[in-house]
Symmetry: C2
């Protein structure tokens, strides 16, 4: 079997173009608020590219840069204002957050209908139980890319390496929902290659090196 | 390796006994409301045994038997009353519900802190993201029984057959949280025995016959 490289950039451009067309026809522009705490270089890059994409499709975007020393209450106050701001339809709090801040608390302080990242417990629970409304974007992208190849997911052996709440676990749930047999491997998996070698579909979402 | 039978009855009796002791020391008895719609014989048996167990530990239990022809609004009204009844600390709506009723809507109408079944999207999302508060009872029982054998779950190959929201998926999540490598098989899995033969831990939670 020869390899077929998936052209992610091309697919992304097509999606952006579609969205741009949809937004053009809207009376009210969709509004996104991006919250960045501290100055983690990776987070800076992620946030800038999300902001750029959102501006490209001509949405309304506001960015809130907060100091890394901010306390939980200040961040909660900002989220409260964004939750009730009618110009803001989606709120994105870039993770990770500094140590003094409870990520789970903050994530779950976003009202469910503005949870564009799909990271609240309610969104994840809906994904888990097959009543998905908003799923985490990276996981959606993975599924979209797999499907773009024309390969049928149903009945395939899918192996997901990594079990983060943002990539590994949501991807696993979405593949299961599409009737794949799903194995989730991670840093504690023994003889990981025994699993990966048998995969029809292999998704690598692990942040560090595996054991073998 | 010789088989070791897990004595579930003995473990259940021990748990019931523990709970009875705890309830004895409580000022206010915990209150459970059980809602049964229609007269599905299996549901009748489940509900009766839950009621019996709860009375055995001397909790306060009220049972609501509703006709199978009830409409959604009548059931929602009952749940609203139970949600705000201070004597009721837990609400259990026996599934399945008749066809005219949206199970997902009804399940998610229970306030989260009274969701003793752990079936609301919020509870499932917490389980999914590792912030479990209330997990579905059958899944918890499976994990408890596995752990009662003294076998360490971490690093094991666990295969779960079945992917219901009540058993298969929650068990898979709980095994993953305990660092097993987890494979979920189901009715669309091909060559299921290839997976089950390699399991260190095998959980069967499938309601119908598998393909091979």
């Amino acid at each position: 079997m020869t390899a077929k490289i998936i052209d992610g950039k091309k697919i992304a451009d097509r999606i952006l173009n579609d969205i741009k067309g949809k937004i053009k026809n809207m009376k009210e522009k969709p509004g996104l608020a991006i919250v960045l705490v501290g100055n983690n270089p990776a987070s800076e890059i992620y946030v800038s590219s999300k902001e750029k994409a959102f501006k490209e499709v001509e949405g309304y975007c506001e960015r809130h840069n907060l100091s890394k020393d901010i306390n939980e209450m200040e961040l909660l106050n900002l989220l409260n204002r964004l939750n009730s701001n009618p110009k803001v339809h989606g709120i994105l709090v870039q993770l990770p957050l500094p140590e003094q801040i409870d990520e789970n608390l903050i994530t779950n302080s976003i009202v469910p209908h503005k949870d564009v990242d799909g990271f609240t417990s309610l969104s994840l629970g809906r994904l888990f139980s097959g009543h998905e409304i908003i799923a985490p974007a990276t996981a959606r992208a993975v599924i979209h890319l797999i499907e773009s190849t024309g390969i049928k997911i149903e009945g395939k052996n899918a192996v997901v390496v990594g079990r983060s709440n943002i990539v590994g676990k949501p991807v696993a749930m979405m593949l299961l929902e599409k009737n794949a047999t799903v194995t989730v491997c991670h840093s504690k998996t023994k003889n990981i290659s025994e699993h990966t070698k048998k995969a029809d579909i292999l998704v690598a979402g692990q942040g560090r090196r595996c054991r073998d």
